[in-house]
């Protein structure tokens, strides 16, 4: 019974803290008080622009051909990336060249 009675102030404090968090984030989003240049600032400006954001806070580009989102996309700037010969399944070259080159490693058995 005593525990149940204590649940009242606990719930009030928790609800108040939740409202504070909600209010702070809402104010930060609407008034853009987040410092420009910081991770939170990039996230906030990207949120306003409606673009997806990477975990690092960098705004991601949406590739017009493949639809994939990345912080840098060869396809998004128009020019197709250089194709690597002999790589199966690389239609249109949507993946960065560095990723494709990793596949080309040759391993010596001896």
């Amino acid at each position: 019974m005593k525990t149940l009675r204590r649940l009242v102030p606990v719930s009030v404090v928790t609800a108040f803290a939740a409202l504070c968090v909600w209010g702070l984030v809402t104010v930060a989003q609407t008034t853009a008080i987040v410092a420009p240049g910081s991770v939170a600032g990039r996230v906030a400006s990207a949120a306003v622009a409606g673009t997806p954001v990477a975990d690092s806070g960098a705004p991601m580009q949406r590739c017009p051909r493949t639809g994939c989102a990345a912080t840098s996309c060869h396809g998004a700037v128009g020019a197709p990336p250089p194709r690597v010969s002999g790589q199966p399944g690389v239609a249109g070259g949507a993946q960065p060249t560095a990723m494709l080159r990793e596949v080309e490693f040759e391993f010596d058995d001896d």
Partner: protein
């Protein structure tokens, strides 16, 4: 509440928290519903220790043992991380509270990720700070012949 029940409640809370912290393993639905359900044992845990919270805050500006002060800092950080992870989790929810989906801005997503890391870190610290209590309480509730 009896010591046995308190230990069971705390262990259940820890187990649920470990499950909630692994959405890749449990799936998004379980992650969201367990995240909401954990509020019950978490609030109960806080209510059971409310006397300690009150007495510690009342003596905040007096001479206080370092471990008590450290506990207060860790517990406050854990509480704020939990509230933040819960609020941001509800804001970005896709299964449990999909009606709030329109609020799922990247800022809420980023906040959820950061506060989740805070919850895990502070939970580990909280558990470490109470290792002695867990050991003593477990020793008392497990009968001598079973040890």
């Amino acid at each position: 509440m009896k010591q046995r029940h308190r230990v069971v409640l705390d262990l259940a809370l820890l187990a649920i928290m470990l499950l909630v912290a692994n959405p890749a393993k449990t799936g998004l639905g379980v992650h969201e519903w367990l995240g909401i359900a954990i509020a019950v044992p978490a609030l109960l845990h806080l209510a059971l220790n409310w006397d300690w919270v009150g007495s510690t805050i009342r003596t905040l500006f007096t001479k206080m043992a370092w471990d008590r002060r450290t506990n207060l800092v860790i517990d406050t950080a854990l509480f704020m991380s939990l509230v933040t992870v819960a609020v941001s989790g509800i804001a970005i929810s896709r299964i449990a509270v999909p009606a709030l989906g329109a609020l799922a801005t990247p800022l809420w997503h980023a906040l959820h990720g950061v506060s989740a890391i805070g919850v895990v870190a502070m939970s580990v610290a909280h558990t470490v700070m109470h290792t002695k209590w867990v050991a003593n309480a477990s020793a008392r509730i497990v009968p001598e012949e079973q040890r």
